[in-house]
Symmetry: D2
């Protein structure tokens, strides 16, 4: 986790205190159920919850100090709780293993992280929708290979992003369901020393599903899938970030990351407004993607469990969740406040002197009886003049002045071929598909 790329709510989820709180809840829910089953006194669970109701401060330092002696994190925690709760605490953890606590806690942390990320996505989607509708019919040039192709609208670009992040949302819902499972199955997962009813109880209280078959650990294919989905979301962030970076290039300048009116440009160069937020997002996408291969390498644990996954997850768990949360929020800000320059979009579209319409003229000529070869020759000879003028000449003007052309098409018919709206007749269709 790099502080400057983190936000408080998500970061808090990954701090020791949050972890210890979940540990306590798991132990207390389990003890409660064990009491119900008659395995331990019912008073034990009650004592734990009574103490918890006092909203005790989690003394991370004290727990760490105990761990320094016991060399075991869960035992250190249990000791600290016992020091606070008293005698009844000795019934905690009966029949359980550390993994029951650790893996279920990770499930809670990832599920809650997913909840935050889903909210992030909702905010991003809302921003995209607002800006898409605002620019539903703002004409701009569509580019394939970075080269002007045919007109689109700026709203269509954002509608695509909306559809893409909607898919990301569905994927995350899927991945959250995958990861949100509870294992309280004891050593090597056989429930030899703990009733499955305890697991069911803890799961229900924490809003998790029961892990159908754990082997002391929750199987890591779930985590691999989860991090893969985060990585796909990161890749979609990169796509939109790269789009903004392209649009902000000096020569294009169709949109810019927000820059407050009073803000000074880089010293005396007012054009020097750098798309640093989206450049940063491009880098953060690489970071989040970096988690996907280690998470997949974690799947093939040896036999019932080895602990090689643990160190990996100490890095990628917080790093991927915190960074993606930050990135989604940053991207939302970029979208919400993006400066959009429709005039410049029009100007860029016009810089080809109307060449982007040449195909429609070609088609019109052939439809009006000119042979394909002749039509091509007529359009091409005028198009080349426009091209060589670097956009100073207008294709429509030249065509109107070309007798061979006007023999087949009236000025009105020609003008009609240069109509932008022709390209936008199905924008409604697409918006209906995307925004319902």
């Amino acid at each position: 986790m790099v502080p400057r790329y983190s936000r408080p709510a998500m970061t808090a989820l990954w701090e020791p205190e949050a972890k210890f709180r979940i540990w306590f809840e798991i132990e207390a829910h389990a003890t409660e159920k064990l009491g119900e089953l008659g395995v331990v006194p019912e008073s034990a669970g009650k004592a734990l919850w009574a103490w918890w109701a006092t909203d005790p401060k989690i003394d991370v330092e004290a727990i760490d100090a105990i761990e320094a002696v016991t060399k075991h994190d869960v035992i250190a925690f249990l000791t600290w709780v016992a020091d606070n709760v008293g005698d009844q605490a000795r019934f905690m953890h009966q029949g359980m293993t550390s993994s029951d606590v650790l893996d279920t806690t990770l499930a809670v942390q990832l599920a809650r992280s997913a909840d935050i990320l889903l909210e992030d996505l909702d905010r991003l989607l809302a921003a995209l929708k607002t800006r898409a509708q605002e620019h539903k019919f703002t004409p701009t040039i569509g580019r394939s290979h970075g080269i002007h192709a045919e007109p689109v609208t700026f709203g269509l670009k954002l509608a695509e992003a909306y559809a893409e992040f909607s898919r990301c949302r569905e994927r995350l819902v899927f991945a959250r369901r995958e990861i949100a499972t509870c294992a309280v199955s004891g050593a090597v997962g056989t429930f030899a020393n703990i009733d499955p009813a305890v697991e069911a109880h803890v799961a229900e209280r924490l809003g998790l599903a029961v892990e159908p078959v754990s082997t002391q650990v929750i199987p890591r294919d779930r985590h691999a899938m989860f991090f893969a989905v985060l990585a796909v979301i990161a890749s979609s962030i990169e796509r939109l970030a790269v789009e903004v970076r392209h649009l902000q290039r000096t020569e294009v300048l169709e949109a810019e990351e927000y820059f407050s009116p009073g803000q000074k440009g880089s010293s005396a160069m007012p054009h020097k407004r750098n798309p640093i937020l989206t450049e940063n997002l491009t880098g953060l996408a690489r970071v989040v993607r970096g988690a996907v291969v280690p998470a997949m390498e974690n799947v093939a644990l040896w036999h019932e469990r080895d602990i090689s996954h643990s160190s990996v997850e100490r890095f990628i768990g917080p790093d991927a969740c915190i960074t993606l949360d930050f990135a989604l929020a940053r991207l939302t800000g970029v979208v919400e406040k993006l400066l959009v320059y429709p005039e410049r979009m029009q100007k860029n579209m016009d810089r080809m002197g109307g060449l982007i319409h040449s195909q429609r003229v070609l088609l019109a000529l052939t439809q009006n009886g000119v042979s394909r070869e002749d039509a091509y020759r007529l359009v091409q000879r005028n198009a080349m003049k426009v091209w060589e003028s670097d956009g100073a000449l207008s294709l429509l003007d030249l065509l109107k002045a070309d007798d061979e052309v006007t023999a087949a098409l009236t000025h009105e018919q020609l003008e009609e071929r240069f109509d932008l709206d022709y390209h936008f007749k199905h924008v409604d269709t697409i918006f209906d598909r995307v925004f319902g």
Copy 2:
């Protein structure tokens, strides 16, 4: 694609002929609809289908020869079709772009690949279920960190694998739905020159969903998700493969890849039966995983499209699908024919002289009134003797001969603590969860 790691049905899907067949279907369905809409003569679609009904041979070489001249694969194909169908063929492809054909074809190939992979998974699941039930109560030692922990059953190991591949199946169903979309939206995806009804028609005929917003290309986050799921499946394959490799180690030898009775061992060394199938699967998992990062890097195309994704997909499309199909089938064979050695499992479990039961004795002593410290001391002093004997002595025998122990526990009570069945009382629960 490496021929030795491929199977015919999947490979055929990725061969030029299959691709051209899909191209034709897309073009013919589109022309048919264009005819219905009155954009082209209805006769055009009919002519195409009439020719297709003759089951014409796809002459890949001829098409390649045309491409060598036109430098454009789709045009080459259309030319070849026109050469065969005649005049009516000129109405094909109206308002469409190459990407409409190429991207929709890739969607069909990936969806059909997913169908094959789903069948592969079903076969693997069936094999796992059969073997799991066969060995539901075959005792074997559970191992954490590669070290003997407590007993499990061999069926439980396979039940875990079954549950894991069931999740893989769900993921693939999800990923298949993601990838199975159709785009026939023309240049930069605006439908300027083609009615959305054509797309809807082609989609319906090919069993695809309509891509809500394409930008000439189908967005690549879909493909990234698809390959990520293949990579997760590959990682689960690796897990089971590594398990078999471990079980087949000379010192463990609890299971072996199938080896026919008459088959000669490596010259005169009958123990030299190598787990080469599962080692191979370990490698193939790495190969399939290798597709995931390139697929994610493909997401951030520039503006409405660039063609950087194309070369990547020419590699990873066939490679990942063909290799995973092969790997799933190979793994299924390994599972179906796996030689399982229950006696050896028992023997390995026994080699610790019963130490794996020491914790239960400890608990029994404390339950019968011995202090925790004393109980520990009593168990420990006998356990150490067993350990130092390298399994020659038996913990149960030593405990029975230890007066301090028998003062608290009868021989019968001691024996009960060495009962394997204690560990298996919830095997039914777990099997019910997994197999329903």
Copy 3:
């Protein structure tokens, strides 16, 4: 390997025939030495070389047919050789294992691949040098964050690429040395049944170093390093490819991939020249990079060897080498024939109306006694006018017309600050560093 992204010389290296030729050479050199050592008759090696001197056709199909029976590739090959050479062939392979042949062969293939790639790099470096010197003083705008910054020369861009690929060359020399080792050490690498002198002889004849300690296999850290270097080279290819793609964007158009004068643009749109070669290179870079993680996962083989690396290498060996060879050659072609448009570079640089020189004016004002705040205000008020005119106004003209400015700087002094050459005074220094 995808045929369209391959070139014949490199591809041939990875075809079965090439592999069998190397196998033969290893076996024949080894037999020759074994003869010298008196382990086998000297006639054996002589018989093998005598047959080889007849330049026999390698009958791949026949060998494959034998393998279909023996299920062992090296034995199949030895059988085929024996069928051709006769009785003396039975002395081949004495004391050797298949890995001795396979791993040494892979070393030869990778070393020879490196040789081809080094030639590729030399050609690319030559092209870069030529074009760099051609455009050593061609002014163009330097861009940070995609935004105009200060002037550079087009030659400097190419000099950077030259320096970068020179480093790539050094890395490849390093990686080639790493990979070019020979192991003929027998089972588990102890030389129990083969004298180390045989290894030394084979190594010397094949131009390899002796592997200091093999364990039946050559350790895979060597291969991991090799593929990592290929991946770094691929990343540098991507960098230059992305540069060209940017320069060819419609709004920038400072350079273009070659387009023959007579060549037709996309139908009637002469501007529709797509940078498809460099887009393709961007994708191929992803493919080559895709090899790096699997190659690293291959390092941790179990004990003296397992065979999980083998399937991975059957993919990434040919794929990475063949694709990188193709990519380097394609990039060389792009560089050699790149259409460079100095006028357009100048025009783009001028579109900011001279704003890129504003910092130098600011500095000059302060040096001539104007306070920092006043200087900033003076430059800023003129700069903003230029900026708002979208480049129609010229900063120099406005400054000359600003009395407060001219009170501190003469027209001549102002003009001097707009001198491009100021920025190029150290181009020679940099070129000397790079080209020596």
Copy 4:
């Protein structure tokens, strides 16, 4: 960075204070040289160094507070220095850009990290050498595919590791040279406003080479190479860690991570000593490898520079260096204190009843005139009996009792074939190659 996987010296290198110290040095060296060149007063550099000689505390909080206002880290730092040094400080940074400071600092941090890692490697190599020589002739079974193959010595295993980490050392020396360059070239790298002599001076003082051509930033192919080398080293760590994990398995138990004599085993199970250090190393290797792809994706910056690399490096710079340092130190500890059990090695080797020698007997029979088929039959029939006895019978005993065998080989000749030393006759050769 995860605190529990970090060591103080390396971590300190990546803390803000260390960074600011390097910043200061760069600025002071540059100012000093600018003074010499007459660009600024010589007093400026002197004032800076005079203040530095007082060993001032770097007030990170104060600098951060300034950055909160200026939104620019380098300016914040310069302001803080100026607040401390006074008026002369205003001459700092003349003609420089932030990247000059930031990139050169990263070079220093990576070079110093490399120095620490080189020391780590030296310690690891020393430990490997010591243990290798200690066990130079400790017999143990060589395993291919996890299956017993032929004898090796434990020293040979460690010699291989020594050779592998020696290569890693060479790679790191190479990578360190790659990364240790200095850029002080000003905006877009043209030296327009700063003399190359300043760069040369700063480079010389910091022990760096001059970057031949920077473009405001140091090209990122250098960093990609650096992180790739760290990832290869991590993969070699994984290999040795996996070897130890295998050796410590309950059924194998030929070696164990150190466990102090007085240390309690897991409660009453003395065999429950888990190889958690090497499992942890396996995970840490995945983490370090996770840096390699993001580092490679950083190479293709746009034009002269974009800032997408920066966020990536804030993660992988400290994470990869700190984690690798920790991992190397941990591995060194594992090697130094590894518990090695030669008797168990012998016992495991013997469990096959001498089958590992069957090939040598086979060869001896044929050399003494028995036909290949007969020899095979004779060895096989005895070998199968041994195999079926699960190691209870001895192949040597059976052969001695087989008349057909003894007709060809005397007891003495047979015994000779079971001589382990036969396999070790070239251990000296290999050790000479590795340890010189």
